[in-house]
């Protein structure tokens, strides 16, 4: 059922001014709101850079991509502000289709 439902999940970790947001499941319009909220809270708590772990994302759409762009803006829009960790082939494909792959540091 876990695979079939693809329920979205989000966990956070903070180390100094670096925060890690680990996402899982389906990152669609509905889930993107949770990402935006988590990013705002981390920034409010003093995060200066953010690692977003996409390794467990099974689906992402334009709303998910917009949340990634928005996260970078919230962190001051520096090229080093947001790192995307472990994007899977489907996520990479969407970053390529939309020309966003060069706008994020992939780790």
């Amino acid at each position: 059922m876990t695979d079939e439902s693809g329920a979205f999940g989000l966990t956070r970790a903070v180390e100094g001014t670096t925060a890690t947001l680990s996402l899982s499941g389906e990152l669609d319009t509905s889930a993107a709101r949770n990402v935006d909220r988590a990013v705002d809270e981390l920034v409010a708590a003093g995060a200066k850079s953010l690692v977003i772990d996409l390794g467990e994302i099974s689906f992402i759409d334009s709303s998910g991509l917009r949340s990634l762009i928005r996260a970078r803006q919230q962190l001051g829009d520096g090229t080093d502000a947001v790192h995307l960790r472990n994007p899977q082939p489907g996520t990479m494909r969407l970053l390529e289709i939309t020309g966003l792959q060069d706008q994020f540091r992939l780790v």
Binding site: D28, T29, D61, T98
Partner: protein, 131 residues
């Protein structure tokens, strides 16, 4: 299954909000699960249906109902998503990200206002139909 001639029509309706769009993705993949769709084609269909529904939902009236109609003819699937429009007079278009994704994932797509409804439409054919 590859020689179905008459169209098969499946309709799904749900409250026009983001929470239920995954049902449209589920039905889309369930619908082609027994056809000649490869994994990539299924994923393209899922993302295309998702973007189409999200666009319509974004322009739909509050508390309205989204109707998603799937029509399957041989292995070509067309999808129409419609809901009462929040601003029937305004011209609407897909934003850049959605447009690029629909261009890549569907063979053709349209977004328009029609008699008070915001309507999205797409057509998708598996890449390796001859396989």
């Amino acid at each position: 299954m590859a020689s179905v001639v008459d169209a098969t029509c499946i309709t799904l309706t749900f409250p026009a909000g983001p929470e239920h769009i995954r049902l449209a993705r589920l039905v889309a993949s369930g619908l082609v699960a027994q056809l000649d769709y490869g994994l990539d084609d299924v994923e393209d269909l899922r993302i295309a249906v998702d973007e189409l529904c999200a666009l319509v939902v974004a322009h739909a009236q509050n508390n309205s109902t989204l109707t998603v109609s799937f029509e399957l003819r041989d292995d070509v699937i067309t999808v129409r998503a419609a809901a009462p429009s929040a601003h029937p007079e305004k011209e609407i278009e897909a934003d850049e990200l959605s447009r690029l994704i629909l261009l890549a994932a569907a063979d053709e797509h349209l977004l328009s206002q029609n008699q008070g409804d915001v309507v999205g439409w797409l057509r998708k054919q598996p890449a390796m139909a001859a396989e």
